[in-house]
Amino acid sequence: MSAAVKRRDLGAAVLLGVPVLLCALAIVVPLVLTLIISFWERQMIGMRPGFSLASYALFFDGARFSVLQRSFWVATSSTLLMLASAYLVAYLITFKLPPSRTRIFLFLLSVPFLVNYVIRTFSWAYLLGRTGPLNQFLQWAGLTSHPIDWLLFSDFAVYLGLVAAYMPFMVYPIWLSLSAIDRRLIEASWMLGEPPLGTFLKVVLPLSLPGVFAAAIFGFVGAFGEVAVSQILGGVGYQLMGNAITSSLDVLNYPMAAAMSTVVVGCMLLLLLLWLRFFDLRLFLGKMLGR
């Protein structure tokens, strides 16, 4: 019997090991290369192996650092915005929609993703432009006498683009944890004298936090690394981290691009570590909910 168990263990190890190895190769190798190159020295054309902190120094006191700060701010604030709207959508799907409609609604949420992401972003640019349908409509309706400029190439456009790009993804984890909540917990809370708002704050919200954290990671990672939305909807001067990295690549400053990437990856890792602490909580909550 123990031989059989061993053989099974071996089988499992191979079955698990191969994909893990492939993932490691595909993810870790480029990351390590990036890290190494970030310490190389830039030359007029190309770069030279070595160990130099020059790129980091330049990054941290140059204008690019403010791009990092700005990216951080945009990612954080848009994530909060997306969380609020995704939560509302997930809440309505879970509690207000008849169960027979849930599937179709969740499917509808994924329909935009059938269209290529860059094309979707460009169509926003068309919709929001000075001569675009939205401005035309507003003028036709008499709400404004001249085209509104801030609809496109503005923070507004970037936030709208980010919400459209990532919010639908965030609905799913929140919906999952909301629909795992036993309705009788809500009824029990009512019976103990807690009206719906108090019940939401004391029972529903805490129990849905695992999904909220997962959604927050989706949104933040997406928004922080965004290139297309900021470039297409933000306009020429609008730079987020992703744009700064691509423009470094455009001028062949590979060590600089690598250094910036390393900083971004470092930030993400830090966030993921934080999340892992909550991930434990998630397992814990999952057990408590009997799932």
Binding site: D182, R184, L185, E187, A188, S189, W190, M191, L192, G193, E194, P195, P196, K202, V203, P206, L207, L285, K287, M288, L289
Partner: protein, 357 residues
């Protein structure tokens, strides 16, 4: 005018689609009473309980608590406690936080809350469990936490929906006794839902038997057990026999006649079952005993003997083919296939009414 009862459910109807789950239910529960609703699955027990709780709204009829009409009051304004079958404790809270949940709105200071929580943990025999995560408890312990939680704010009435049915046999027996004690000590009125006849009989002051959304009979346990009013109630309790026959003669005391025996029924129910039938408990049928003069006796064939431990069941075939089961303390050695004499006292024969339509 008599004081209004604690709970008065008046002509309450509820229908889901075509399914009538409460067909004009009337019931009253007094202060401190242990009231049980007993019925098979789907008979509407939970629906009636949930309407009392305010979790469902009746299509028509009123629900009054202490004379106050609460029909349109939401559950969080009714001051009732509820215990669910699957505990429904808040999984993200400790035992103490669960029990204190309903106290938060009472604006008690922390010391008072702590005191009340430990008081309740003593009541449900879980002293010192305050800081345990509620999910790490056994089923019986979880249900006791749920009971303590529901009782903490001193509800006017505690509603329990099959609270013990998720527990295994042994724990269930222990919990039955404990629940009864808790009810007696706190003096809280309980409205208890179960489909377990023994649970209903052992714990309750009064039992309401439900079928298809009708309250078929509301009585004290012994009355219900000894004198079922309809065929449904009679067959619901294990060990009852229904014998069909016909009515002979009219007037205040009619005579019920079947192939095996005739009996004068002292008082007739208003709507006699159709076909006419009577109920006889298996323990009341005595085989080859020494009948006293007033006993009714008849012959039957002993078809089968089923040993059940303390009791043995004897399946008897009457002359017209109807089968009844007598039970007696084991020990009497009777071979199957034999002709026997059966005796029953007239009080043991209960006339049955028609089922409510």
């Amino acid at each position: 005018m008599s004081p209004s009862p604690l709970l008065h459910v008046h002509a309450v109807r509820k229908q889901f689609g075509k399914q009538v789950t409460a067909a004009g239910v009337d019931l009253q529960v007094a202060n401190g009473e242990f009231f049980t609703m007993l019925g098979p699955s789907g008979s509407g027990k939970s629906t009636i309980l949930r309407m009392i709780a305010g979790l469902e709204h009746p299509d028509s009829g009123r629900i009054l608590i202490n004379g106050q009409d609460v029909t349109d009051l939401p559950p969080w304004r009714r001051d009732l406690g509820m215990v669910f079958q699957q505990y429904a404790n808040f999984p993200h809270m400790t035992v103490a936080q669960n029990i204190a949940y309903g106290l938060r709105r009472r604006k008690l200071d922390r010391e008072a809350v702590r005191k009340r929580v430990s008081e309740l943990l003593d009541l449900v025999s879980l002293p010192g469990f305050e800081e345990r995560p509620v999910t790490r408890l056994s089923g019986g312990e979880q249900q006791r936490v749920a009971i303590a939680r529901a009782l903490a704010p001193r509800p006017r009435l505690l509603l329990l929906d099959e609270p013990l049915s998720a527990l295994d046999e042994k724990i269930r027996r222990e919990m039955q006794a404990q629940l009864k004690d808790i009810q007696r000590v706190t003096g809280t009125a309980f409205v208890y839902v179960t489909h377990d006849q023994e649970e209903a009989l052992t714990m309750s002051d009064r039992v309401a038997v439900l079928n298809w959304g009708h309250l078929v009979q509301v009585d004290e346990p012994h009355a219900l057990f000894r004198h079922p009013r309809t065929k449904f109630v009679a067959t619901f309790f294990r060990g009852s026999n229904v014998v069909e026959g016909k009515l002979v003669g009219q007037g205040r005391s009619s005579i019920f006649e079947c192939s095996a025996f005739r009996v004068a029924l002292p008082e007739l129910p208003s709507k006699f079952a159709h076909p006419p039938a009577v109920a006889i408990r298996g323990e009341d049928l005595r085989i080859n005993g020494h009948p006293s003069p007033e006993d009714i006796t008849f012959d039957a064939v002993l078809e089968r003997v089923v040993y059940r431990g303390v009791y043995t069941d004897y399946q008897l075939r009457l002359v017209d083919g109807q089968v009844v089961t007598a039970s007696a303390t084991s020990g009497q050695n009777l071979p199957a296939g034999q002709k026997v004499q059966v005796a029953v006292r007239p009080e043991g024969i209960t006339p049955l009414q028609a089922e409510p339509a």
